[in-house]
């Protein structure tokens, strides 16, 4: 079980959440419909092997969206916060 630290509810098993996906994708509000930014936003992914910023919806809890930094190779959770929060890599991870 992945344990995600929901800012409201506290640490919860991931079965309470719905995975939304890559949290680095910023909706290009206002960009023309022809702007390639839209394609990038909807379809392209960095898909890193390692730390990954992602969104989880606490659908069986407070129904808030939680931003999580998680290592996709080890499943280690390195930080969590609200969607607008900046979540930095722990120092130990940066050095790895």
């Amino acid at each position: 079980m992945l344990y995600i630290d929901c800012p409201y509810c506290g640490s919860r098993g991931h079965e309470e959440f719905t995975y939304i996906g890559d949290a680095t994708k910023k909706r290009p509000d206002g960009a023309e419909t022809s702007d390639p930014a839209w394609f990038d936003y909807v379809y392209l992914r960095d898909n890193p092997r390692g730390p990954h910023l992602e969104l989880w919806h606490h659908s069986l809890g407070c129904r808030e969206v939680v931003k999580v930094l998680r290592n996709t190779l080890t499943h280690e959770i390195l930080g969590a916060g609200r969607p607008g929060d900046k979540i930095a890599l722990p120092d130990a991870e940066t050095e790895r």
Binding site: Y3, G13, S34, Y41
Partner: protein, 1010 residues
């Protein structure tokens, strides 16, 4: 009650953990026996002198009991019968109970005369991977496979329902200690004393681990006294949970331990209301792995005969179960365990005829004790051959050095019925390696020990290669204290390590295999269950299958139900020798969960049968059932499909009649349907209109209070997501409805947009699906019915026009009325608080009695909406754009909305895309099935170009008197009036049909606005 002869000729008259006052009758292969409480099936069989218990997987060689624990490769039996049968159950782990029944497996017609034993004679052909090299010709693999499958497999299972139930349980612990041997007990005691929440898990019926099987002492007393006292102390601690008969089978992310507690497996049947097994999911902050070690066999010619057994198991049978595993024993081991075994077996009254020690020198104190008892010790020697077929009759021994030089050694025959062999111990690193842990090879013990781990685990005692009792106790104490301290629990001063009395032991000698006698085709088994011999390992190596993973897959080494617990390292050692490499460089395969196999039922717990998944009920559920409704599931909800009237019996004809009756009622009089399952979302906030404007393709800024509007929303990728009406019920207050299927996804879509992308918008959304019971009353008489129900409301067209919304009350019940229609008739939807749903529904039924009102179900609803060309999930199916569905004109060009950019892509805006059309059979009567594909010519040979498909179909529109359908047709809007074929090759059907507009009934909408 099974009765048998009370003989037990191999039972020792005293000692052991068995309860001699509790004899238990059991049956094996149709014969009755008696064992004792405290026995396993294996120990009870041995006590009764039963040595042959099974046949091997491939060669059907006779096999006996090989171990005393979960590593057992041979003694797999078919336990119990009927619904409780369990194939492939290890006799060494079955606790004996009165009435136990077991059968041997993988033999025909019986265990002693297994005709499949012919495979053994053909063994030179059936080497590793032989099937990859043949069976390629006609009649094809599927033919040969039929026979191979019958020969393969182990136990047989039948399709009979399991009468037992299962549970799941969650646990939370500061420290989980796995294994209640000396290290685990010591650690749990130390940790428990600090107040930390501790789980101590052990797979056996009682704690003690290896102490139960050995003659050890602690503080001058039998070691089990210490263990029992420690257990008593732990049981007094409220913060400690002791789970016995519980196997920790897997180590998962987040330091989660999966474990299965065998609550009732030691009983004939579970007690009333008790489960058979309980699956635990325990979340730990720290995990102490005190999982012990597994002894591995020595590999030599004929090492698989019944009577060859692991030395530690022979000791366990003697000490724990008071059973002689044989009457006359030879011992063959590459460490001082050989001497330890000799002493324990001799003490148990077994005639020990020799200790064969491949080492020359370097032994410790134990050897002297053995020599002092006058037992023959042969150094520098090995067992080179065994005799006997259904049971061991004796062994040949020879000088190892001569054998290694390739010369023919002199052999000596020693008659015996038990050969206890020990090839060293391998730490049980399984759980450690389930996560990222990478075991490392320790040459001192010729085994893999835990390496670095990213998880919060620590291995202690034998699980990290510390095999002496003193080391285990010290390791446990230190780990228990340090781990608790690390979590912030206060620890007192360090206790003294209990004193042990262990003789000094000699060195260990690595011996992966005993070379075969020159000229002899040796049958030296590495993996006993899957019949992988040393020669198979070498063959695989010579063919280039040199990776340990290739070796495993090519030879099936370690693929059996024991997952290679006794065989993997020997196999890898032999591979390393063949490759001329160090075993550390050859590596090891990854251990996969579960540690031992787990019943599938335990993973499901109570979520089976009709509780396999939740179902949702509407407030009027019971009314529907009481009034003849046939219910079907729609997106977890149970909904009426149609209603049978009193006196009608269920049949296809009655169903058709009901559907026609209900459809006609709506068109000609009135109908009422339960629409509570539609998603309902309460939207409030100053920016609510702006929000709706962004999520729907059409405009929302001009909607007046008291009015509803139909809207369509897209996914970000430009595909239609959902449709529904949204009503404005206050200045900044809206009430959105969604389809039943998409209620959840739409709610989440809105929440993510608001929380992640548009946090600046002042909008709050709340799901009110469950708050409101909703019923649609449709039909020309609906106005009259509504007027009767709501005498104070003016339902005239002017006062309450189409798309009007009113908040009022229904005789004391708060109600919202929406003049919206899915059927195309004059219709109203009434929403009331859910607990009043049935009351309101009944009032509607009562008010409609004089107006021909009938309840209608999903089938009639389907016909009505197809007549009107209204789309549902069959059309909004995740593959179509708003344009495809005929909503292109609704897409606003004056504002931006979700999905607009991606919907503008070349392939999404292509005018030749499929578009929604109506389809009607040219002959006016042939049914067009949903799922038909639209083609230009039904006679074209494959591949046939496809023009679209039929999405929804009614075999008869009672209002039009003919079948009708909706479909998606390429360039469909331009093809209205043309003909096209709807083909259904699965049933050899082809119907020529005319393409029409989607709406085929009341095209002008006069009835709707009437």
């Amino acid at each position: 009650m099974i009765r048998g002869k009370e003989q037990q000729p191999f039972r020792i008259s005293s000692g052991g953990e068995i309860e001699r006052t509790q004899p238990l009758g059991f049956r094996f292969d149709g014969k009755n026996y008696i064992g004792y409480q405290g026995d396993t099936l294996a120990s009870a069989l041995l006590a009764n002198g039963v040595r042959l218990v099974g046949r091997s997987f491939k060669y059907h060689r006779p096999r006996g009991i090989y171990s005393a624990g979960p590593e057992e490769p041979n003694a797999l039996v078919h336990l119990r019968s009927g619904g409780r049968q369990e194939p492939n159950t290890r006799a060494t782990q079955i606790e004996l109970f009165a009435g136990l029944e077991a059968k041997s497996q993988n033999r025909w017609p019986n265990l002693k005369l297994d005709l499949m034993g012919v495979n053994d004679l053909a063994s030179r052909f059936l080497v590793a991977g032989f099937y990859y090299k043949t069976f390629m010709g006609l009649p094809g693999w599927h033919f040969y496979e039929h026979f191979i499958r019958k020969a393969a497999g182990m136990g047989a299972a039948e399709h009979i329902p399991d009468p037992d139930s299962y549970d799941k349980m969650h646990g939370h612990a500061d420290i989980v200690v796995i294994g209640a041997g000396p290290a685990g007990l010591a650690a749990a005691l130390q940790a428990g004393e600090t107040g930390a929440r501790v789980f101590l898990i052990d797979e056996n019926d009682r704690p003690g681990g290896r102490l139960r099987a050995e003659q050890e002492s602690i503080d001058g007393r039998p070691a089990m006294d210490w263990a029992n006292e420690t257990v008593a102390a732990l049981q007094d601690m409220e913060n400690v949970t002791l789970l016995t008969r519980t196997t920790a089978f897997g180590y998962y992310d987040g330091d989660t331990i999966g474990a299965v507690e065998r609550v009732s497996d030691h009983l004939l049947a579970p007690a009333p209301y008790k489960v058979r097994q309980r699956r635990w999911l325990i979340h730990a902050k720290r995990v102490l792995l005190a999982t012990g070690a597994t002894e591995r066999p020595l590999v030599f010619d004929g090492n698989d005969r019944p009577g060859v057994m692991l030395a530690g198991a022979a000791r366990a049978y003697a000490t724990r179960f008071a059973v002689q595993a044989g009457k006359s024993a030879v011992i063959f081991a590459n460490s001082d365990d050989g001497y330890r075994t000799a002493l324990d077996l001799a003490y148990a009254g077994i005639d020990v005829r020799g200790v064969i020690d491949p080492r020359t020198g370097g032994q410790g104190e134990l050897k002297d004790r053995v020599a002092a008892r006058g037992i023959d010790i042969v150094e520098g020697a090995a067992v080179v051959r065994t005799h006997g077929y259904l049971g061991l009759a004796g062994v040949d021994i020879a000088d190892l050095e001569t054998l290694r030089s390739g010369r023919m050694p002199e052999t000596r025959f020693i008659p015996c019925d038990l050969l206890a062999t020990g090839g060293g111990w391998s730490p049980n690193v399984h759980l450690h390696s389930h996560q990222s842990g990478r075991p490392v090879f320790d040459p001192a013990i010729a085994a893999f020990v835990p390496g670095a781990s990213r998880m919060n685990d620590r291995s202690i005692g034998a699980a990290r290669g510390r095999f002496s009792l003193a080391e285990c106790l010290a390791d446990g104490i230190a780990a228990g204290r340090e781990t608790a301290q690390g979590l912030g629990f206060p620890v007192g001063s360090s206790p003294a390590t209990p004193a042990t009395d262990e003789p000094a032991t000699g060195s260990f000698m690595t011996l992966w295999q005993v070379p075969a006698l020159p000229g002899r085709k040796a049958r030296s088994f590495v993996d006993l269950q899957d019949d992988v011999a040393a020669s198979d390992v070498k063959l695989a190596e010579s063919e280039g299958y040199v990776s340990v993973e290739h070796l495993k897959r090519y030879t099936t080494l370690g693929m059996g139900t024991d997952q290679g617990k006794t065989s993997n390292i020997n196999g890898h050692g032999i591979l390393a020798e063949a490759r001329g490499m160090d075993i550390a460089a050859v590596g090891t395969t990854t251990f996969r969960p579960p540690y031992t196999p787990v019943a599938i039922g335990a993973f499901a717990g109570r979520e089976r049968g009709r509780h396999a998944h939740p179902v949702r009920r509407t407030p009027m559920h019971d009314w529907h059932l009481a009034n003849g409704a046939k219910m079907i599931e729609a997106g977890l909800w149970m909904r009426p499909q149609y209603y049978l009237q009193p006196g009608e019996t269920p049949s296809r004809a009655a169903m058709d009649e009901a559907i026609i009756r209900e459809t006609l009622a709506v068109r000609n009089a009135a109908g009422i349907s339960d629409v509570s399952t539609l998603g309902k979302i309460d939207i409030q906030g100053a920016d609510a209109a702006e929000f709706l404007n962004r999520v729907y393709i059409n405009g929302w800024k001009t909607l007046a209070i008291g009015k509803a509007r139909y809207g369509v929303m897209l996914r970000e990728d430009g595909i239609a997501l959902d449709d529904g009406t949204t009503s404005r019920i206050g200045e900044n207050h809206y009430y959105m409805t969604t389809t039943t299927a998409e209620a959840g996804p739409v709610m989440q879509h809105l929440e993510v947009l608001l929380q992640v992308h548009w946090p600046d918008l002042d909008v709050k959304v709340a799901s009110v699906t469950d708050e409101w019971a909703a019923m649609a009353i449709a039909g020309p008489n609906s106005r009259a019915i509504l007027s009767a129900l709501f005498p104070n409301t003016d339902f005239s067209n002017d006062a309450f026009p189409f798309m009007g919304v009113r908040e009022t009350d229904l005789g004391g019940i708060p109600a919202r009325i929406f003049r919206i229609s899915f059927s195309g008739e004059l219709a109203y939807e009434i929403a009331v608080p859910a607990d009043y749903g049935t009351a309101a529904w009944e009032r509607c039924i009562e008010a409609g009695a004089g107006h021909g009102l009938l309840p209608y179900g999903m089938e009639a609803l389907g016909i009505l909406r197809i007549e009107k060309g209204h789309v549902t999930v069959s059309e909004i199916d995740g593959r179509h754009t708003a344009g495809d569905l005929g909503f292109g004109g609704m897409m606003s060009t004056k504002k931006r909305f979700v999905g607009d950019a991606m919907a503008a892509r070349e392939g999404m805006a292509d005018p030749s895309r499929p578009a929604l059309v109506g389809l009607t059979p040219l002959d006016g009567k042939t049914r067009i099935r949903a799922g038909s594909v639209l083609v230009a010519d039904p006679k074209t040979p494959p591949p046939v170009p496809k023009l679209g498909h039929v999405s929804s179909s009614a075999y008869l529109s009672p209002n039009l008197g003919r079948p009708i359908s909706l479909g998606m047709l390429k360039g469909g809007r331009e093809r209205i009036g043309e003909t096209v074929w709807a083909v259904f090759p699965l049933r050899n059907e082809a119907v020529e049909c005319r393409v029409t507009a989607p709406v085929v009934y009341d095209e002008e909408g006069a009835r709707l606005h009437g």
